[in-house]
């Protein structure tokens, strides 16, 4: 860091807690992206409340038009805007702050942010004004106003350029030697997300551009099956961006909150590479009961070539808790199998959010996802409520919860404010993740009785033939409804905390170490530090005599339970298939 003494140095400040160098422009870009992300979350959450109160048939709040319209609004604001703006913030943060580096072409970055906002506003306008009642998947021949597709394209172009700037920033940081050695694992994970983002956004361009041309009448038709193929190459691969970003945050918050160590860089990094290699095959599991593809194609692709991306997630699902366990053990929490877990900082929302994210993502999202993405099992799942049941447990209680946990650290680190309503912040992750867990369970069970997704009226009061669902459906829809309300309250509390802290918050003030300060997560004021002889302790913990559990026996126990649950669930579903008609 000798090169940049002169004017550039004045653009940096040094974080009092982490000693990281923070560049003003990077800080600005993290801030604006985070703010727009939270605004999108607000719009999405209000829509969510109205939707869940409509799907809960006993309440059935919205009229049909507004149910379908807000379903599109919810999908767009949550899955696209909330998540992607936050990821833009993650890219700016990891490539600059974590590397003590400066952002390359911050001006272009700001312009692209503006472009993304413009695109988002165009989408919101078409959706709210009823010009795009096609849901967020917009399957042709359903046709929206051309401005809808245009908005999506502008948004995507902006995001793609920011991803390019991210790579440029990494390259320059390397050249200017702002750090020694290889990228930290967290940045490596963010880089994985960025690489997948490039693949994803290119697929997006390949389908949105022709669809836009079709909507303005320049080309006669878009083949509906081809559209579904490419759209899901965008739609699902983008979920892998979320997974990679989420896993990077798991490693980050694990390190900040409990000093989680990286057991083995090779294993964790190889797992990230597996994500990159097999991700563009991901669209297939949306097309398992589509007429356009044969069984061989479906099998190879739905399994990401023999489940190699699943393997990657199972690896992170081990190394993340194991890193936490070893980090705790190295700092003296060695009692029993789960002493490290019991004595972890459960009142630090950064920690609780991480653990909840790992657990619900793995146990509910992961297991259901692999199972329902099986070629034949998909026959009893496709387009039922089981599908949103599954993905709310991945992208919501997994990714969104992790993002919320990260926000509790970003507020002091980037915005230099204390976290407002600290008591509420401490239980917000439990409320949100718990609510989504109930919502997912309710949806999943309802779907297993054949209740369709994206459906306004399952009493079928206006249909020629009656359909009477099993009475249990009323019960599980109530569980869904209550879980949804709790989750929306959790989301609104998060928004209130974020807005209050950022705009009206108390500055972090003087450095206070070694004490619990309301509004400052524990990982900052009482950072997990290792004893000086940590390498010797590590050596002792690795003594060969410690058996197969090795250094992390607790985690090995946990993943064994996971695998058992997985097997039971998976084979139960095969068993269920056998009662159907024969079909082939």
């Amino acid at each position: 860091m000798t090169a940049a003494v002169s004017p550039i140095a004045s653009l940096f400040r040094t974080c009092p807690y982490t000693q990281k160098k923070v560049h003003k422009d990077a800080e600005y870009l993290v801030k604006v992206n985070a703010v727009v992300s939270v605004v999108s979350l607000l719009v999405g959450a209000i829509a969510a409340l109205l939707l869940v109160l409509t799907r809960w048939q006993a309440v059935h709040l919205l009229p049909a038009t507004w149910y379908y319209r807000l379903l599109g609004v919810h999908g767009m604001n949550m899955l696209i805007f909330f998540i992607i703006y936050f990821e833009m913030a993650v890219l700016w943060f990891t490539s600059t702050v974590l590397l003590d580096a400066r952002p390359v072409t911050p001006r272009l970055g700001k312009a692209m942010f503006g472009l993304m906002v413009l695109g988002s506003l165009l989408v919101e306008w078409t959706q709210f004004s009823g010009r795009a009642d096609v849901l967020f998947t917009s399957y042709p021949p359903l046709k929206a106003h051309p401005v809808f597709y245009l908005g999506v394209i502008l948004f995507a172009v902006g995001a793609l350029v920011v991803v390019g700037i991210f790579f440029a920033t990494l390259t320059v940081a390397k050249r200017e030697k702002t750090y020694e050695g290889s990228l930290p694992l967290v940045v490596y994970g963010a880089m994985t997300a960025a690489i997948i983002a490039v693949i994803t956004l290119l697929h997006g361009a390949m389908i949105y551009v022709p669809t836009f041309l079709w909507s303005v009448g320049l080309i006669p038709a878009v083949d509906p099956q081809t559209y579904r193929l490419f759209w899901w190459a965008l739609g699902h691969s983008s979920q892998q961006i979320n997974v990679a970003a989420m896993v990077a945050i798991w490693y980050m918050l694990g390190g900040l909150t409990v000093g989680a160590v990286v057991l083995n860089e090779k294993v964790s990094r190889s797992a990230f590479v597996l994500y990159i290699l097999f991700i563009s095959m991901a669209s297939a599991h949306h097309l398992l009961v589509d007429p356009g593809f044969g069984p061989a194609w479906k099998i190879v692709n739905t399994s990401y070539f023999m489940y190699m991306a699943v393997l990657a997630s199972m690896i992170h699902g081990f190394t993340v808790p194991a890193g936490m366990e070893l980090g705790m053990r190295l700092r003296g929490y060695t009692d029993g199998l789960f002493g490290w877990l019991r004595r972890a900082p459960w009142g630090d929302p950064g920690f609780s959010a991480t653990v909840l994210s790992v657990i619900v993502f793995g146990f509910v999202g992961g297991i259901t996802g692999v199972t329902i993405g099986t070629e034949q099992i998909n026959i009893i799942v496709h387009n039922t409520l089981r599908v949103p049941g599954h993905f709310h447990s991945t992208v919501v209680s997994g990714t969104a919860t992790a993002f919320m946990g990260a926000t509790y650290y970003l507020i002091p680190l980037v915005f230099r404010k204390k976290v407002a309503y600290w008591k509420a912040a401490q239980w917000q992750p439990y409320l949100f993740a718990g609510g989504i867990f109930l919502l997912s369970m309710g949806m999943t069970f309802a779907g297993s009785f054949g209740v369709p997704r994206r459906h306004w009226d399952i009493s079928f009061s206006m249909s020629p033939f009656d359909v009477q669902f099993n009475p249990t459906v009323d019960l599980v829809l109530a569980v869904m409804g209550i879980g949804g309300i709790l989750a929306v309250i959790g989301a609104l509390i998060f928004i209130a905390i974020a807005v209050k802290s950022v705009f009206f918050g108390e500055p972090i003030g003087e450095l206070q170490m070694g004490v619990d300060v309301p509004g400052l997560p524990r990982g900052l004021t009482k950072p997990p530090t290792f004893p000086p002889d940590v390498d010797a302790i590590n050596e002792r913990l690795h003594a060969p005599g410690r058996g197969i559990g090795g250094v992390t026996p607790g985690t090995l126990g946990l993943v064994t339970i996971f695998l058992m649950a997985f097997m039971v669930y998976y084979f139960t579903n095969w068993k269920l298939l056998t009662v159907l008609w024969k079909v082939g």
């Binding site: 399957y139 050695g181 930290p184 509906p224 490693y251 694990g254 390190g255 160590v261 057991l263 083995n264 860089e265 090779k266 294993v267 964790s268 009961v289 007429p291 356009g292 069984p295 399994s303 489940y307 190699m308 699943v310 199972m314 690896i315 890193g323 259901t368 099986t374 070629e375 034949q376 998909n378 026959i379 496709h382 387009n383 039922t384 369970m441 999943t444 779907g447 297993s448 054949g450 369709p452 994206r454 306004w456 399952i458 079928f460 249909s463 020629p464 033939f465 099993n470 249990t472 050596e539 197969i548 250094v551 695998l563 097997m567 998976y570 269920l576 159907l580 008609w581 024969k582 082939g584």
Partner: protein
């Protein structure tokens, strides 16, 4: 070789390509084996199992498919219900079902344990074939003929729910399939099928 203690936030000095610890190796091994099982189940079910989404899949002009459906209706029509023709094809026949906003055309009357080739397609938009209460689901796409060999193994009065959003009337789109028993008699209630499904997420 032991990894030097560090978190994921720190840059890694030197090479990091070290052998993994024992517990990690064991877990990766088990996880990999499980992935192979997951993979093997699918081809295995094509070979031994009775429920596969294979079918014979061809491109078709939506209007031609609809014309073929009306011809099929004319050929085998046995009655009417609520303005929809009820059609009873013979064993082994090619059966046609067209989805269009917002109806399933026509009503099918099939027989238990008899095999048919069921052609599914749409006239206008994507639709979702969801056989209630068995919960059998297929995607229907205009321009594609999805021809599935089906053998109803339960008799009763079934419904077809549309479970792909197809427009503002999507939720009204319900069709009907009647399955008679082997001797051609109606099983009037739906009990024998409802009891057998649902309840597992």
């Amino acid at each position: 070789m032991l990894t030097k203690v560090h978190t994921g936030l720190e840059p890694v000095a030197g090479t990091w390509w070290h052998p993994a610890h024992k517990a990690e190796k064991v877990w990766v091994g088990i996880a990999f084996a499980w992935c192979l099982v997951l993979f093997a189940m699918m081809p295995l079910w094509h070979w031994k199992g009775g429920q596969n989404p294979s079918g014979i899949r061809t491109r078709v002009d939506p209007r031609a498919f609809y014309a073929r459906t009306t011809e099929f209706v004319k050929q085998y029509k046995v009655g009417d219900d609520k303005g929809f023709p009820i059609v009873q094809p013979p064993a082994g026949a090619d059966v046609y079902l067209t989805a269009m906003t917002y109806q399933w055309y026509p009503i099918l009357q099939l027989q238990r344990n008899v095999t048919y080739r069921l052609h599914l397609s749409a006239l206008d938009f994507n639709h979702g074939f969801s056989l209630y209460p068995l919960n059998v689901n297929f995607q229907i796409i205009p321009g594609y003929d999805y021809a599935l060999e089906v053998t109803p193994t339960a008799a009763g009065d079934f419904r077809i729910i549309c479970n792909e959003f197809c427009g503002i009337g999507h939720h009204t789109m319900v069709g009907r399939v009647i399955v008679l028993d082997e001797s051609g008699n109606k099983v009037s209630d739906r009990n024998d099928v409802t009891l057998r499904v649902g309840g597992t997420p």
